[in-house]
């Protein structure tokens, strides 16, 4: 079992905001920092535009984890998109676990534009956490 867990390479979909976390990812790249290849970045203009449907779709298609990451409170380019995102993530974290999707598979973080180092570290920690959870049930079950 342990060996199997070691081999498990999760797929993590990360919705990152253009102004902060995507810029941090860019900085991590230009700084030649390493972060795991399990993260699939999707750049969006603001975490406030991440429709809960995107997250549900990602999980139903077999994502092992979903990250939504944007600007720190007060730094949102659109003033308060990150606060709206926080309520939506709260809602999803109430609903998805009722159907067996562990709340830990869905994460919200604030990573500022200059936080390149933190970005790489957080991605490594995130992948390790999702690896511990094992594959998502949507990979093992037929989704209708």
């Amino acid at each position: 079992m342990e060996g199997c867990m070691q081999d498990f390479e999760p797929t993590i979909i990360a919705f990152v905001c253009n102004w902060c976390t995507y810029t941090a990812a860019d900085l991590a790249g230009t700084s030649r920092l390493h972060y795991p290849k399990n993260i699939r970045l999707i750049r969006i203009m603001c975490t406030g535009m991440v429709d809960p449907q995107y997250i549900i779709k990602a999980f139903l298609e077999g994502a092992d984890g979903v990250l939504v990451s944007g600007c720190h409170p007060g730094d949102c380019h659109y003033i308060n998109g990150n606060f709206k995102a926080r309520r939506r993530i709260k809602l999803l974290k109430e609903i998805l676990p009722q159907f067996g999707f562990e709340a830990e598979r869905l994460k919200l973080t604030w990573i500022g534009a200059s936080d390149g180092i933190q970005f790489a570290e957080i991605m490594q920690r995130l992948v390790a956490k999702v690896k511990d959870l094992g594959p998502s049930q949507a990979k093992l079950v037929m989704v209708v």
């Binding site: 809960p52 449907q53 549900i56 779709k57 139903l60 409170p73 308060n80 606060f83 709206k84 926080r86 309520r87 939506r88 993530i89 709260k90 809602l91 999803l92 974290k93 109430e94 609903i95 998805l96 009722q98 159907f99 067996g100 999707f101 830990e104 994460k107 919200l108 973080t109 604030w110 957080i122 920690r125 995130l126 956490k129 049930q137 949507a138 079950v141 037929m142 989704v143 209708v144």
Partner: protein
Amino acid sequence: MATTAKINVSGNDVLEALRGFFKDILKTDDIKAILVPQHLPMKDMVMPALVADPDQLDNADPLAPAFPINTAKIVSRLTRKPMGAKIAAVMRPCEIRAFVELAKLKQGRSDELLIITTDCLGAFQNRNYRRYVERYGIESTLRFYQSVLDGNIAEMEGADLASACKSCEIPVASNADICVGLFGVDVDDHLLVQSQTEAGTNFLNQLKLAEIPEPSSRRDAITALVAQRKAYRDEMFASTREATNSLQKMTAYFANCVNCYNCRVACPVCYCKECVFVTDVFNHDPCQYLRWANRKGLIKMPTDTIFFHLTRLVHMSTACVGCGQCSNACPNDIPVMELFRTVARVTQQAFNYQAGKSLEQDPPLSVFYEDEFPEVVGLGV
């Protein structure tokens, strides 16, 4: 100050007393029409009707165990713009709650509306009501309210209250303008009329009904009924949770679903004017289906069934009032209400919100605060 008064009942005919009360309301200068469940002349089906002529109220039947539609949607249609006159609407408690949710979303207004409610005796599923009314005809409502008020709610000669009603812990509204009380009242003699708002008090005073105190038996009767309902409800929550707590189980739960979206159409608080699931977003390219089938080996058609129900839960579970119209509308007998109420209970508690309770409570996703839900942010320990 709330007013408590009585309407006299003669000849043990509660319905006739209610009709008389509605006629008196319609004869006032304020109210130009009244929306009330009414037996249709061509068939013994009960539907909401907007009645302007007091003489047309002889078929009004607010106590029939028929619940073909959540009237909140009708009232929303009637009040979305100024009408230029005031109307009254006779609504069940869950219909009032749904209307409150719609009014918060500016899909209805209460300033030209007088909401009248009766203690809710519950209703059958549509098909059971049709059977019941075929069997007992004109007598059916009489038989029904007598057996409910006698405490015989579980089995009614083969017909059974809808599970939404059996699990409803709010059979008596607290946010109508005027409430007609039946529980714990000697209905052979009189009905109780109480105002619940200032507008209701002013209106009742104008009718000059004889004031009486609320009988002490009323609180007890309501408390006992609510306790019974809550017990049924909590059992329903537990068994539904057990039946859906994994993707595999949820998939089995919705195995009969044909994506007809009737539940969404029937839902009074599904507020989108155009549902994303009927737009081109979900009208995928033919080659897309083939790509999915190639990738997964097989895909069930139509696709996106679980996606639809999860999305609907995200959209409306915080506004769910538990009326059960979703289950009523399902052509394949999926217990939709059971699941939606179970999830709604959790989401509404998470935001400390009670759907339909008051216009003052903001819908959870319409507001945010700087300092809240710190547990949601970060990777955790």
